[in-house]
């Protein structure tokens, strides 16, 4: 029996409004028609917005631009690792180190390493140096994802110690600027076809 009390106010207004409506016959239908039109327009706008933002979102993650960006990031990651590999060599593990060199290389660079492998190993065992690289930054100077080629430049800090009469020397760090020509191989990803220091 609270209900009647609640309805009193509501009913009063309803009655007044009903009076208004009576003064303008058909207002209810008109309102429904207007509301229907507005809703239809809003639904249309909403549908277009859904399509536009949906497509934009999809393209942001899976569009051609996103694919290029992902391929670029792959190349940068590979270049960083290759720059690190090719600037590191420890006379204690020279064969393993040169294996890594070969795995990082393809084409002309691979041939060069492979051909001179024994010479490098002998030389390193003789001078007994260990080089550890840290790649500070690597950037692509050129990138052609369709052709599968890229050129990367890298700032590499190479820290080298030498074994002198059984004692390791204090490390000497060189700031090296490296340029790599990269080729995307069909089965093993990006490899360096050439590597050189950028000298003044």
């Amino acid at each position: 029996m609270r209900l009647p009390l609640v309805r009193r106010g509501a009913a009063g207004k309803a009655g007044a409004d009903a009076g208004d409506r009576a003064a303008t016959p058909g207002a209810g239908s008109d309102r429904i028609a207007l509301a229907t039109r507005i809703s239809a327009v809003l639904a249309g706008v909403g549908l277009i917005a859904v399509l536009v933002f949906g497509i934009l979102w999809f393209l942001a993650l899976h569009g051609p631009g996103a694919k290029t960006a992902a391929a670029r990031d792959d190349a940068v990651v590979a270049a960083r690792q290759i720059a690190l590999n090719l600037q590191s060599l420890d006379y204690n593990t020279v064969d393993k180190g040169l294996d890594t060199w070969e795995q990082s290389a393809t084409g002309r660079l691979f041939d060069e390493i492979h051909k001179n492998r024994q010479q490098y190993a002998d030389q390193l065992r003789k001078v007994q140096t260990s080089s550890t690289a840290r790649v500070v930054d690597v950037a692509l100077a050129d990138f052609d994802p369709a052709a599968g080629t890229a050129r990367a430049i890298a700032s590499v800090d190479v820290s080298t110690t030498q074994n002198v009469n059984g004692t390791e020397s204090v490390p000497v760090t060189r700031q090296v600027r490296v340029q790599l020509d990269l080729v995307r191989t069909p089965d093993a990803g990006w490899k360096a076809a050439s590597a050189s220091a950028i000298r003044a």
């Binding site: 009390l5 309805r7 009913a11 007044a16 409004d17 009076g19 209810g28 960006a69 950037a139 050129r151």
Partner: protein
């Protein structure tokens, strides 16, 4: 009466019941259950009068014609919709009949249903659009496209070319053309770097004429690390060489620079330089 029922004018009698629902609902439950037209509304007068009161107060003009049919389909039961009409009906039988008839008018109900469907669709679609807009924005800010280097090829090559030229300009000078060198450098720098440059160049202006110094800068290699909109970061290999007194070489410098670039009015300028 019956011919008037579908007509909204049938609402008119409701003006009196306007106040009467007070009693109407009191009796409404009685009559509601008593008048069998609304069969199965034995429980519905409660919900019926509930919705009737709500919509009635909000939009009283449609007590008979509008809201009750609206509330009806919304509640998913046409019987409920008629229930409030029954509630008001006892006070003004015409209104009750008008409302009930309007609610039962299939054409009218179809219109209302269409309105509700469209309204719900509009709300849902706009909500989904908002979510997608956020997802899109977030994907572009954090996903693969957060860096547009080599994706936006035009800007990538433009920033590389323009900043390479800018670095050469900023780090090159001739003791005979210092003012022109400074002006040229100012034109390709921005922000804090542009301000700092003046201080550094003041020292050059004092020394260079005495030493007859000429400095030339080359950029043997450069790459774009990051590019987004009007901001870019580049790794640049830079060599500076010069002479004093025409022939005597000044100790050259080879550097690895991280250069922050900013596009101002369509032209890339140096905003910050950090050796590494």
């Amino acid at each position: 009466m019956p011919p008037e029922l579908p007509d909204p004018a049938g609402a008119e009698p409701a003006r009196d019941p306007g106040t009467s629902p007070v009693t109407g609902s009191g009796t409404g439950a009685v009559t509601g259950s008593g008048t069998s037209p609304v069969t199965g509304s034995g429980t519905s007068p409660v919900t019926g009068s509930g919705t009737g009161a709500v919509t009635g107060s909000g939009d009283g003009g449609e007590v008979e014609g509008g809201p009750s049919p609206e509330a009806g389909p919304a509640a998913g039961a046409g019987a409920d919709a008629t229930a409030p009409e029954e509630g008001t009906a006892p006070a003004a039988g015409t209104a009750a009949e008008a409302g009930a008839a309007a609610a039962e008018d299939p054409e009218h109900q179809a219109k209302v249903r269409r309105l509700i469907t469209l309204a719900v669709a509009a709300v849902l679609l706009i909500a989904i659009a908002v979510v997608l807009a956020f997802a899109n924005h977030s994907a572009r800010a954090n996903g693969p496209l957060a860096n547009e280097a080599f994706v936006d090829e035009g800007s990538t090559s433009a920033v590389e070319a323009e900043i390479t030229a800018a670095i050469k300009t900023v780090y090159s000078y001739d003791y005979r053309t210092l003012d022109a060198n400074q002006a040229a450098a100012k034109a390709v720098t921005t922000g804090q770097f542009a301000q700092d440059f003046d201080k550094v160049f003041d020292a050059v202006k004092q020394l260079a004429p005495k030493e007859q110094a000429v400095m030339t800068t080359a950029v043997p290699a450069a790459g774009v690390l990051q590019l987004k909109d009007d901001r870019a970061r580049l790794l640049m290999m830079v060599d500076q060489n010069g002479t004093k007194g025409g022939t005597q070489p000044i100790g050259g410098a080879s550097a690895r620079l991280i250069v922050e670039a900013q596009r101002v009015d369509g032209r890339w300028k140096i905003a910050e330089v950090t050796p590494e």
